[in-house]
Symmetry: C2
Subunit: 394 residues, 2 copies
Amino acid sequence: MREGAQAPSMRDAYVIGAGQTAFGSFPGESYRSLFATAYDRAMASADALGPEDIDEAVVGTLGVGGRQIGLSGPAVTEHAGLSVPTTRVENACAASGYAVRNAVQAVKSGMADVVLAGGYEVMTDLSSDAAKYWLGVSGETEWERLTGTTFAGTYAQMASAYFAEYDATVDDLSRVAAKNHANGAKNPNAHLGFDCSVEDASGAATVADPLTLYHCCPTSDGAAAVIVASEDVAAQFDDVARVAGVGAASDRVGLFERDSYTSIPASAEAAESAYVMADVGPDDVDVAEVHDCFSIAELLAYEDLGFCERGEAHELLRDGETDLDGDLPVNVSGGLKSKGHPIGATGAGQIVELYKQLTGQAVDRQVNDANLGLAHNVGGSGGAAVVTLLEGVR
Amino acid sequence: MREGAQAPSMRDAYVIGAGQTAFGSFPGESYRSLFATAYDRAMASADALGPEDIDEAVVGTLGVGGRQIGLSGPAVTEHAGLSVPTTRVENACAASGYAVRNAVQAVKSGMADVVLAGGYEVMTDLSSDAAKYWLGVSGETEWERLTGTTFAGTYAQMASAYFAEYDATVDDLSRVAAKNHANGAKNPNAHLGFDCSVEDASGAATVADPLTLYHCCPTSDGAAAVIVASEDVAAQFDDVARVAGVGAASDRVGLFERDSYTSIPASAEAAESAYVMADVGPDDVDVAEVHDCFSIAELLAYEDLGFCERGEAHELLRDGETDLDGDLPVNVSGGLKSKGHPIGATGAGQIVELYKQLTGQAVDRQVNDANLGLAHNVGGSGGAAVVTLLEGVR
């Protein structure tokens, strides 16, 4: 079967609640307390639901810092007060995007009616060496990490290739950052919820040429949780979004093993699968959360997701199409750049934002008439990707 | 919905192929090459199948030794020559038991027709300190691992409690070891494929009182892979087993937080769910692979899985009921004790053994008239468990 296709008569899955902690630096919290808070907020948003209604849980985390390594999923659900089968999934920065996908499969399989999908990470207590190590572990081990390639270095290669192939410049990376910071400034959950100008971003210290500090997302602490349910259960709730499609794809873990540095093929494949499953196309998307771990990644995403033609991402951006008041607002939450990037929480956090947008709860950053939302979550430099399409129901 | 129940009209999942590497010490192999070998053998056992038929993959590993940490699933499927959505799951020693469960959900969900589920671990290149660390990470972190409790120490507490509560002795642990070594001696894939007497086991050096060396499984290298498919696909194959039931449960990660040390409640819950889903009971099981990481765990499993009443496990064992020629042969592969325990490969390896048994391919250790097989895979000291019931089709 091709990914994205599905057998007939399979039942639909719905998001009936979602919540997250703020993303930021929380020395007084632990990975367990953060996850419990996200869980509590997700449950509060689906207020007729009790812990006894949860059939199972899927938890995404990279396990940064060597906290609980084995059984890192059950360790957080037990602290949240749940006693349900819990599976940890890890696909680097796409861990909880995949957790949500697994939850959708669990509901569609008929083996569960209500599944908690979420993720967490605690990163701000790491030394800079430890942070570099833990980010590097999502790169290819033998030929990237152990030879000294940092994660910023990997994406810097993509940016250099993009600049060489098209007429984009470092200011376009800064435009991504400025747009996402402007959105994040409206999001009380954002780690870096302040404005940042194009000039400030372009003039900031270089991290990995051509990427400056403001072209790189922060390392953050945080957790996010989503409640996925069957149609029968969803019928009892007021704020509901349907999982119209979900697609995933893997690729070579090492960037150096891929043919192109100006595309993330796994993103394109995952998107195509999600579009097929939902029977929609990129033109139907009203709001999107994309994986801007480094600002170049947002430009590549526009093209891989079909929002524009190859080589035209920076023009879409310059035209303001992806601004909060544009035709296709992207990263209205602030994205990884401003909202923050607690690795295992990011994918589920994107779904939290879409759920809020599609059920009219996004307050200052609400996109008008948003009906179809897309979340795009990438693992590593593109060794895995998952794209989820949510459709507002009520 | 209660775990084990399922919505009506959900489609069945089948195992159509399975294979593994030998378990042992393979300094000339890597985690990638081992996984690729297991994959090749699984594909060879389903010989009409090509890589293009695989829709997705689920890979279980603890990631011992800090090889590929992020994207540890895609890192092995790419090396096996696959380009399919790959998700890593981790539930400590139950990682690939859960991977198989996820594969079953993927097929039942209608989102996939053919799913590769497997796992791997490389452990024998670790120093003894590193091995102790990596085994300890599946215990509870703050109050067990960091305070010095080893994994053998945790299970030793269970053995002491069992001896205090019932009239079992250290020789009963040795009887488990002797039985499993006798079986493993018939298994060319066993790590420790030699016989071991009750006297030798009881007289061996103490690891954690009352456990001796021969009451503890080895650390091993290895990989295993299973191909799970829909009914339509399975209809095209000759050697097929149906996934009659699969149940999972989580519990407190720390042993010290549980009410009883003479039971693993997650095992009992997972088994009950699997029995309900399959509409069978423990009396219907013809052959079982249970999680004997330490020999006491096999005795607890007999009781948690309902093979006998509480406190009677050692009598079942002494009566020879669980011998290869008994009424309910247990660990005919040699179990973790003799076959070996490459953490992430163990759960899928159990399914490999059941598939061989149920399709009449188990050669010297073939159980006669085996129709229903049970696999029992535990994470940590019982923070997670998964029980799978396979029924021979042809």
